[in-house]
């Protein structure tokens, strides 16, 4: 009976807006099936977590107050007095971290499967942009509870921005809203976190999804050469599978949010000395640790500046990857890129490990 109802509504809409072309496209779309099929889920997982973030973020907006005087108290109010506030906040914090992780896994899987080769270059470019936006959302959001950890982590993070040559000081002042982390910082971080970055994310995401839908999923080089191609219909088969995965992720998220609730921490005191061993969030740690190991001076250049420039160059390299990897363009493998990818993963993991367990200077 529900099917009849759905059909009736569909016809009503179709009569007015001719959606059959679009829906026809969807029903025809297929997804290639091969041994690396499982990685196709990662993009959807990241999207799901993003939706969770937007929903919990909107709920938090109902009670959060973005000033230095009230931020911490408002978060305390949410977690202690608002019904299910503790849950909304805990989910928002956990989902943020899971989303960053998922974005990185999605990045590396598409890297190794060379999904960025033509005709999908711009999908990769928008994807890299999305990664930077997601990390920006993480960085700006982390300050908002205005607790000790977030205050000092932001202090360290914005300090690094100052190391950019020429524009560094100005950039740091723009980020901080002044010379120091203050009330001015929290309001602009709030603006970035709640408006600027989400709008940018949604725009790029829209493009990214349209491109994926239009061009279909990329096939890995190994199966692209197979004469016999197994496929699966996108709607409803792949989509339903996607939903199963999303449900499992949701279950995991709930377990983490309830069994390991996110701490409130201590309210930030701008006049207190920096606590020993302060670190940024885990997804920035590999960069943070790298900068620690660069010597203070390399020839006549400031070590930190070189490090920042290095990261900048890596970022540019990441975005332009489809245009750099000319072998992939010719549907050929190049071991250099594979080794580079593996090395990057090991490097990031190792640096992160050292940041937590190495000598705490």
């Amino acid at each position: 009976m529900t099917e009849l109802l759905i059909k009736k509504i569909y016809n009503w809409v179709d009569e007015r807006y001719q959606v059959t072309d679009l829906t026809g496209f969807f029903t025809k779309k297929t997804v290639p099936v091969h041994k690396h099929f499982v990685w196709y889920y990662l993009g959807g997982i990241t999207l799901f977590l993003f939706i969770v973030q937007v929903a919990t973020g909107i709920l938090l907006l109902f009670y959060y107050k973005p000033t230095a005087a009230e931020a911490y108290e408002s978060v305390k109010f949410i977690t202690t007095k608002v019904e299910f506030g503790w849950l909304v906040r805990s989910v928002h914090s956990w989902s943020a971290n899971l989303m960053v992780f998922s974005a990185f896994v999605h990045l590396f899987s598409t890297f190794f499967l060379k999904a960025y080769r033509p005709p999908r270059e711009l999908t990769w470019v928008t994807g890299s942009g999305l990664l930077f936006i997601v990390m920006g959302l993480g960085f700006t959001g982390y300050l908002l509870p205005w607790n000790e950890l977030s205050f000092f982590a932001t202090k360290v993070g914005t300090q690094m921005a100052g190391a950019v040559p020429v524009a560094g000081e100005y950039l740091r002042t723009i980020l901080r809203g002044g010379d120091e982390i203050s009330d001015a910082t929290i309001t602009r971080f709030f603006a970035l976190h709640v408006m600027v970055l989400p709008i940018a994310a949604v725009s790029l995401l829209g493009l990214h999804l349209i491109m994926v839908q239009f061009q279909g999923m990329s096939e890995p080089l190994s199966s692209a050469k197979d004469p016999v191609k197994k496929t699966m219909k996108f709607f409803p088969n792949f989509l339903l599978r996607d939903l199963v995965v999303w449900l499992l992720i949701l279950a995991g998220l709930m377990v983490l949010s309830i069994m390991f609730p996110w701490e409130l921490g201590k309210k930030a005191d701008p006049f207190a000395p920096t606590p020993f061993g302060i670190k940024p969030e885990w997804y920035f740690l590999w960069m943070f640790q790298t900068l620690k190991y660069i010597p203070a001076k390399i020839f006549m250049f400031d070590g930190e500046v070189l490090g920042i420039l290095g990261f900048g160059a890596a970022g540019v390299g990441l975005v332009l990857l489809p245009f750099i990897d000319i072998w992939a363009r010719r549907e050929k493998r190049n071991p250099v890129f594979s080794i580079l990818g593996v090395f990057t993963i090991i490097y990031m993991l190792f640096m992160t490990y050292l940041a937590y367990f190495g000598p705490q200077k």
Binding site: T2, L59, F62, E70, F77, E83, G85, V88
Partner: protein, 146 residues
């Protein structure tokens, strides 16, 4: 007879539908409770309803909870309502209103404060933190001074 037997497909669809509804319910209920403003507490964690209008007679005081610390609300002999942080600035005992001396006393070491919170005598080194008092309808609302 085949038509009355539910096919596996239809059965699955029913269970699926039921499951989706259950999930939506268990997500929707917390959301609805969340956006309902909590009763009895100020959305500001830094203000509190200390008493009802008329509850305190002139020349009397009352200890109330402010956050996780005690506060003291005093109806002065002239009928003016004042409120302070009730934690003595000497060694953190809770102060009280002394209606005989018309001042605030800390019984631990005889520290005394006037009705502006300033130290009159005894060991306290600093005045008591003063709070703002406002009447809102039936409520006497005490809040941190901006």
């Amino acid at each position: 007879m085949e038509q009355t037997k539910i096919t596996r497909r239809e059965f699955l669809n029913y269970v699926l539908g039921g499951g989706i509804l259950a999930l939506l319910g268990s997500a929707g209920y917390p959301i609805v409770r969340y956006i309902t403003p909590p009763k009895g507490v100020e959305t500001q964690a830094s203000s509190v309803v200390a008493a009802k209008v008329g509850e305190l007679a002139p020349d009397a005081g009352k200890i109330f909870k402010f956050g996780d610390k005690p506060g003291i609300l005093i109806n002065s002999p002239t009928g003016e309502l004042v409120a302070f942080n009730a934690v003595c600035t000497h060694l953190n005992c809770t102060v009280q209103y002394d209606s005989r001396a018309k001042s605030i006393l800390c019984a631990c070491h005889n520290g005394r404060f006037d009705l502006n919170g300033k130290v009159i005598s005894g060991p306290p080194p600093r005045p008591l933190e003063k709070y703002d008092v406002n009447i809102r309808g039936e409520d006497v609302v005490v809040s941190k001074t901006a």
